[in-house]
Amino acid sequence: MTLDVDVQKRLGAFEVAMRFQTGGGITALFGPSGSGKTTLVNLIAGLLRPDKGRIALGSRVLVDTNTGVFLRPAERRIGYVFQEGRLFPHLSVRSNLMFGRWLTPGARRWGDFDAIVDLLAIRPLLARRPRDLSGGEKQRVAIGRALLSSPECLLMDEPLAALDPARKAEILPFVERLRDEMRLPIVYVSHSVEEVARLADTVVRIEGGRVLASGPVGEVFATIDAEGGFEAGGVLTARLVTEAGADGLARLEHPAGALLVPHVGRPAGSLVRLSIRSRDVTIAVGEPGRLSVRNRLTARITAIAELAPPDVAIRLDVGGEPLVARITRDAVRELGLEPGQMVTALVKAVALDERRG
Amino acid sequence: ADVTVFAAASLKNALDTAVSAYKAKTGKDVAVSYAASSALAKQIEAGAPADIFFSADLDWMDYLAKKDLIDGASRVTLLGNTLVLVAPKDSTASLEIKPGFPLAEALGADGKLAMGAVASVPAGKYGKAALEKLGVWAAVEPHVAQADNVRGALAFVAKGEAPFGIVYGTDAHAEKAVKIVATFPEDTHPPIVYPVALTKTGTSADAKAFLDYLLSSDAKSAFEVQGFTLLGSKG
């Protein structure tokens, strides 16, 4: 389901004018603090009215100032995980979770209460009131509440910011499953490059109320990285050859070489997408020696961009896909790297987060 | 109730006694609504289910008569009362009421004369008339503290807040914390009378019977005990 946004909105002195389109799946909104991400999400949810413009989700027009269409939030069937929780203080955790569910006609319900409660590890909290929850617990309940309202689209505003890595590691695959199994379009705001690189199909880069760039995650991240400050390397698409065995590694085939990745959980032959952080890419000229690094990809240097010292971004063509390596200028000099040169890109196996295509 | 009487609040004690005696005698139930005569009159005007109106002054009875809401034939001016000057019980003041008597001087610079509201409360109206007739109103007026009914005025004197007050003789009789300094001569004020009448809707035999009882000698003692004088004449 596509999301089509073309809106203008003024809040005090802050002006939003954004236009982009995504092809469904997970759309990451990425941008500095105060850039307008939450404002955009509120516009999609219907909590703010655009001064001018149109938002459509698939064939459903949510708002169009030209035709005067404005669906109220309750009519949009969009789940929203707020940046600040917003749990109902007068209801128990259980009632908070069930709130949207009660309001959903049986036929439109999906998701299993118990499964979601266990995934979020909030079963011991069910009888409590929000006031007695920790920051991360509140956020987990908020995620559960939005999911259990059986939305047709999900807005998540920094949903995992307050969570520990272990919890994040459990929830992230679940978000992916929502996209894949429920075919739920998700708008995901995050400051974490890793989260975005892993989850997003489309990235919308926002700054000062405008869209700087939008498009597939690989493309947008490759640009971002060249400008510095971020650590996204690229996204590669590979074919699963054999699923993980006792050693826990699945084998994949990519035009630039074989790849090893932790368990994939998909049938052999599937296309799998892998996100790689630029700082996890090491460049070797000639034979790399006996290293613990598992993945060796044949790559051609397409460009070398200076970042803030001591860093340099090496743009690579890896079997036709872009990938950025971030190394020191010192290394570039010593290895004598230059555009056009063929090198080996080394990527630690454990650094690969598997993504479904 | 078999009969509903709208009666001025100052009649409460006397009328309550009469009602219980009547009830004991006849088994009939009489309900009395006590309020300010003005309020009662306006309620009757608005259709109140009163069978009998027992007013504390002629004005409000006349008001209803003019609107043809009472049965003029049944109207009786039943009770009379006196107007007295009272002081707190421990007061040593002694004054004789006569034209130009030194009430203002007796009050002193700061003392108040407690009265019912002189524009509206009957006791206040009578008091003002009397003081005017005696030629002391102008001197006393700045000292007057007006209460919204006679009981309020009496309380000011009883609690020692005001050195003097003008109230009905009936009230002064019953309040042990005040003493009567002097009684206003009857010719200094319009007659203090309590007219009673059937209303236009009070046509039941029970209503007539109770009114008759009030006029009868059986009821006499109930009123006299409270210090009322029985006039009992029609008109």
Binding site: A45, G46, L47, R72, P73, A74, R76, R77, I78, G79, Y80, F82, R86, F88, P89, H90, F99, G100, L103, T104, R128, R129, R131, D132, R145, A146, S149 | A1, T4, F6, A9, S10, K12, N13, D16, A31, V32, S33, Y34, A35, A39, L40, K42, Q43, A46, G47, A48, P49, A50, N149, R151, T170, D171, H173, A174, E175
Partner: protein, 231 residues
């Protein structure tokens, strides 16, 4: 106990309780709706409406009672209409005493509820809307429960006011024992009589006990509600 009060006083106590309870409960829905309208509505004349709602507070009770008498009396336009249409009579009935009480307590109720409604974080209502709650559901499931402190306070104020209300009631429905003589009217009548003070005092104490009972009940409910919010 029976001997503590005269039958007439018992009747007054009974009636006062009935009048205060009915007045409070019956005006509560209207009070909530009015508070909601005034707190949330943005329409021309909003301030004027707020002013009108407050009138019974501003006017001497006797005036309010008199206006009620003119409007709701048997011959008054509204009174006549209600009588003929629904057979609903206020004039000189206990229902009239309840109406007078309800009207006198109304501004207090509306203010208290309005304060609570204004203190609600509207982002919670937004959250409910994203979960599929339409306006009515949002109101019932979020706004109303979060306004409970104000609703309870408003109810207590109205109930207490009703127990103390006298001027409007006696002016509107008179002071008929067993029908419209509430505790305050009875106290008034007692005060009028030379030796009525002890009777008045006894009835006053009854009022106080009832009011404190109502307040404790409301506090207990509020505490339960707060505890609910916490545990």
């Amino acid at each position: 106990m029976e001997q503590l009060f005269t039958p007439e006083e018992w009747t007054a106590i009974d009636l006062s309780l009935k009048v205060a309870t009915v007045a409070t409960l019956a005006s509560l829905p209207v009070g909530i709706a009015m508070a909601m309208l005034l707190a949330r509505g943005r329409f021309p004349g909003r301030s004027l409406l707020a002013g009108i709602v407050s009138l019974p507070l501003v006017l001497p009770p006797v005036v309010t009672g008199y206006l009620l008498l003119l409007a709701f009396g048997r011959k008054g336009p509204i009174g006549a209409f209600l009588d003929q249409t629904f057979g609903l009579v206020f004039a000189f009935r206990w229902t009239g005493a309840a109406l007078a009480s309800a009207i006198m307590g109304f501004p207090l109720m509306v203010r208290a509820i309005g304060l609570s409604i204004e203190a609600i974080d509207r982002r919670l209502e937004d959250a409910a809307a994203t979960l599929g709650a339409g306006r009515i559901v949002v109101f019932l499931s979020v706004t109303l429960p979060l306004a409970i402190p104000g609703i309870l306070a408003g109810a207590v104020l109205a109930f207490a006011r009703s127990l103390g209300e006298f001027g409007a009631t006696i002016t509107f429905v008179s002071n008929i024992p067993g029908e419209t003589q509430t505790i305050p009217s009875a106290i008034y009548a007692l005060i009028q009589s030379p030796d009525g003070e002890t009777g008045a005092l006894r009835l006053t104490l009854v009022s106080i006990v009832i009011a404190i009972g109502a307040m404790l009940l409301a506090e207990w409910l509020a505490a339960r509600f707060r505890a609910g919010e916490r545990t």
